[in-house]
């Protein structure tokens, strides 16, 4: 299929080809200009036995960028546990794929789009969603759920105030996610939004997508891979025409954000959900019977990355002809075509005998498709424009041949400052203040912008502890949530990473789901500074040791480095996406209390002064030591709760997180529209404000029918889980008493008013 857009003339191609060969000095200078390190340049020259061409250098610059190669972290990521009996595809695939039983598997992955969203919030977020959806589609799965983890500066810093109540950045990001997700028709079912001044110059936009595919139980295998194979088989370009958007976006994503970042806007891609939708349907229905052999999404570094990685994965060569690539803009140079990151494109390897039916298939969906190359003998990828050669490189050298970078790590990190002494806070007033905070208050004004029910899978959506989705026609389902707190990681990256795992485990347990795998989105600062590199290493060590304790694998994810701005680095922020199994969606507890329910507190009440939202709010500081994490106790607690849910004894549940016991209980009240009266036996000498509001882990509120209380308490004692019969739900006020004194008493109406005042709205 010929493109209606003017191709570069033969003379111009010949002229460019003639300029491809550079002298020693010019070549080294261009390499430096493209941010290739001197040792990387030497490595390339040595491996090739010649100087690279001009276009080849650009290919190396893209593929050896941090974004594509993970060169600064790969040796650390290699230590993470990645396998398990349910894992069908792990890291290295487009997305992790996990067997969820009864003939279904879930593909899921989290990915960041931080830099583009900082520069162009709407398109950055929209293309982040589009990109992660294509990863799911590339595995052969039909996307069915989106979650997002967003971190913004404090409301003031992003221009968000109570009136007009929205900042352009928050608004742009939320509308971008909504604009793409709603139109392509994938339910947005959860996630989290946090606000911290340390994200003001560099917001974080992480999107998690999940999709369903058939597996086992006699179903034809729908899982796809990206290994090119079979000499003479054809390379099929599918989707949107290639334009000049996002050229070398991967390299842009591998730099810090500067004052002149606006000049980077041409690096940001533009999303088209309509094109994405047509492409999704065409690709999902493009089966092996129609000639489909291998599939890869064109993301970072576009056609270069897709072709090189597919050839390398299959240990074959590939020839690409740029003249056959559909173009959107006139006179695009070979280098521009190769490195464009235009959205909504896939590369397939198809059976040589199926060319016409494959082309017909895509054209019938209104999707561009063009044979742009073939699988050849050898191990080299050769890119030509007509007869002129622009790239002729060993696929593996480009795909995996980068030098791992072991940046020096600081010997130690500064320990977090302890809190100065302060007078006991009024628990009731502080609770209301906490509920007014944008990160803790009502997010419904944001989440109502997302279609949460399309696809008819959503059992639990946003505002619940975790999202729950049902498998088609079955009682069985799966749960997803995202956890990870930068503030805790800033205090202690190792403990912060473990706390993220614990939070995910707990949130899943609250919907009766058993954790089976995670995907990790690691958002970090520059690895070139020893303290930050140490933080990166500590986060990954925390995940590694935590996952080993839990016996849970990571099946994929993403590392985003250089999250810094003139305002400084972000706190290390791992966003852990947790996948859990639900055996019966009819048993899933809600996050809402009903009058008459008994309230149980699972876990141990604490009161030591650890890093806590309320203390930072009261003192207006960022300090406090990270709380201790005991994953063995967390797992015991989670397993116990999941077991009780499966016995049908649990009606409501909520894990304790930011804002402590009182905030979690207040949210259960707010969702249920009823009050609660509980009594907490405080430890000897414990301060009520710490006990009620401190951010302690390994604690869960449970609401149940009164007749189940004895059985729950007995089972908890047998399981070694501390459990306290704390009180009952009902009435129109939230009241928490100590053994002797009242800790707080607040009318439900006051809670509702505060919660609605969080000031997050569009």
């Amino acid at each position: 299929m010929s493109s209606p857009i003017a191709q570069l003339s033969e003379t111009a191609v010949a002229q460019q080809a003639a300029q491809e060969r550079l002298g020693d000095e010019a070549c080294a200078a261009l390499a430096a200009q493209l941010n290739l390190l001197p040792q990387e340049f030497d490595h390339i020259v040595q491996s090739l036995g010649r100087l690279p061409r001009r276009t080849e250098l650009a290919v190396f610059a893209g593929m050896y960028s941090e974004h594509c190669s993970y060169k600064s972290t790969r040796h650390l990521l290699a230590t993470l546990p990645k396998t398990g009996p349910r894992v069908l595809a792990g890291p290295g695939a487009h997305a992790g794929v996990v067997d969820v039983g009864e003939g279904y598997a879930v593909a899921f992955k989290i990915e960041s789009h931080n830099h583009p969203s900082a520069v162009e919030p709407y398109q950055g977020a929209a293309t982040g969603v589009g990109g992660i959806l294509r990863d799911i589609i590339a595995q052969g799965a039909r996307p069915c759920a989106l979650l997002d983890a967003l971190c913004f500066g404090t409301p003031q810093a992003v221009g968000l105030a109570l009136a007009p109540r929205h900042g352009p950045q928050v608004k742009g990001v939320v509308q971008g996610i909504a604009g793409y997700g709603n139109a392509i028709g994938v339910a947005n079912v959860g996630g989290k939004t946090s606000f911290d001044r340390r994200y003001a110059g560099n917001p974080l936009v992480n999107a998690l997508a999940a999709g369903l595919l058939r597996h086992g139980h006699g179903h034809p295998e729908t899982l796809r891979h990206a290994r090119a194979a079979g000499l003479g088989n054809k390379v099929l370009y599918v989707g949107a025409a290639t334009g000049r958007d996002g050229i070398l976006g991967a390299a842009f994503a591998s730099e810090e954000l500067g004052d002149n970042t606006q000049a980077s806007r041409p690096h940001v891609q533009v999303g088209d959900p309509f094109a994405g939708k047509k492409l999704m349907e065409a690709c999902l229905s493009f089966t092996p019977e129609l000639g489909m052999l291998a599939c890869q999404d064109m993301g970072a570094c576009g056609i270069t990355c897709a072709s090189v990685e597919m050839a390398a994965a299959g240990s074959v060569g590939m020839r690409i002809d740029l003249q056959a690539v559909p173009l959107r803009e006139a006179n695009m140079a070979p280098q521009e075509i190769l490195l464009s990151e235009s959205q909504e494109r896939f590369l397939f390897v198809i059976d040589a005998g199926c060319v016409s039916q494959a082309l017909h298939h895509f054209h019938s969906y209104g999707v561009l498709a063009s044979i742009c190359g073939e699988v050849v003998a050898g191990d080299r990828v050769c890119v030509q424009h007509g007869n002129a050669v622009f790239v002729d490189l060993p696929a593996k050298l480009v795909a995996d041949g980068f030098l791992p970078l072991h940046w020096p790590q600081a010997d130690s990190l500064p320990t977090a400052l302890p809190y100065p002494p302060f007078a006991q806070a009024d628990v009731g007033q502080t609770l209301l203040q906490l509920l007014r905070m944008p990160g803790l208050g009502d997010l419904q004004p944001l989440t109502q912008r997302y279609d949460q029910s399309i696809g008819c899978r959503t059992v639990r959506g946003p505002s619940q502890c975790a999202a729950v989705l049902r498998l088609p026609g079955l009682q069985r389902g799966f749960a997803l949530c995202i956890s990870g707190r930068g503030a805790v990681c800033a205090a202690d990256p190792f403990l912060g990473a473990q706390a993220a795992l614990a939070d995910g485990l707990r949130d899943l347990a609250c919907v009766g789901a058993e954790l089976v795998a995670i995907t990790d989105g690691l958002n970090m600062a520059s690895p070139q500074r020893p303290a930050e590199m140490r933080r990166i290493a500590e986060v990954i060590r925390g995940l590694k040791e935590g996952l080993e304790t839990l016996g849970v694998p990571v099946t994929g994810g993403n590392v985003s480095l250089y999250n810094e701005s003139p305002q400084g680095p972000i706190p290390p922020t791992p966003q852990v996406g947790s996948l859990g199994l639900v055996t019966d969606v009819a048993q899933v507890p809600t996050a809402a209390l009903q009058p008459g329910q008994s309230l149980l507190l699972l876990g141990k009440v604490c009161s030591d002064p650890v890093l806590s939202t309320f203390a930072n709010l009261v003192l207006q500081v960022d300090c406090g030591a990270a709380p201790h994490v005991d994953l063995v106790a967390e797992q015991r607690l989670a397993n116990f709760l999941v077991g009780q849910v499966r016995l049908g004894r649990v009606a409501a549940a909520r894990g304790i997180g930011r804002g402590g016991l009182a905030t979690a209980l207040a949210k259960l009240c707010l969702q249920g529209g009823c009050g609660a009266q509980v009594t907490l036996p405080l430890p000897e000498g414990a301060r009520a404000d710490w006990a009620a509001l401190g951010d302690y882990a390994a604690l869960i509120w449970v609401g149940c029918a009164p007749e189940f209380v004895p059985a729950l308490l007995t089972a908890a004692a047998q399981a070694g889980v501390p459990a306290l019969q704390a009180g009952t739900a009902g009435g129109s006020r939230l009241q928490i008493d100590g053994v002797a004194d009242a800790i707080l008493a607040v009318e439900l109406e006051a809670l509702q008013t505060a919660y609605a005042q969080a000031g997050v709205g569009l």
Binding site: A178, N182, A183, I184, G185, D272, P273, F274, A275, K277, K278, Y365, G366, T447, Q448, R449, Y450, D451, Q452, S453, I454, G455, C456, R457, T458, V459, R470, V585, A586, L762
Partner: protein, 225 residues
Amino acid sequence: MKRLQAVVLSFPGSNGDRDLLEAFAAAGFAPRLHRAHEPLPPEAAVVGLPGGFSYGDYWRAGMLASQAAAVAGLKAHVAKGGLVLGICNGLQILVEADLLPGALRTNAPPGFVHAMAVVEVTPAAQASPWLRGLAVGQRLRLPIAHGEGNYFHPQGAKRAQALAALTYVHNPNGSQASLAALCDPTGQILGIMPHPERAIDSLLGSADGLQIFAGAYQALAGAQR
């Protein structure tokens, strides 16, 4: 008896087509997808136009889709007693095709909104086989998910009120007379902004929508006997 055929039109950009298929099946129909650029198949007893963003809705919502070959056949389909259901974008398409009166404007306040809405059955609903089984005043819980659902009738709110077969209990989008659904004069064409096809199972929040599909099935099955 041969099962009643339901055809779900799929436009490029439709995204509620699979949900609608499931809802028709749950009510007893034999449903299948039909790509809207091809003429309407004659055997269909019911035609559904699903929600979504047909042709991206980059232009006025539903405008391009209203020109599709299958939509051109809807008038004849209704003339021979067939039923039509347009949901969300499907309603926008029916309005653009002049099969239902009025227009759907940007929500007031503006912005896409997702919520579980409560709608009430009006006396006008009794004219439609889709809704005849429901009691006047009965309330249904149905999800809404749209950015352009603000119904406008050029003759004003009075006319909209007369046409409304379902009304929102709390108007979410600024629609005249809180209109959530309306029918053509025959009652055979129902256009509805909320999503009954997503309310066919109480585990997912509501099963109230199933009554609308079941109503159509009973009306047609009764006529066939």
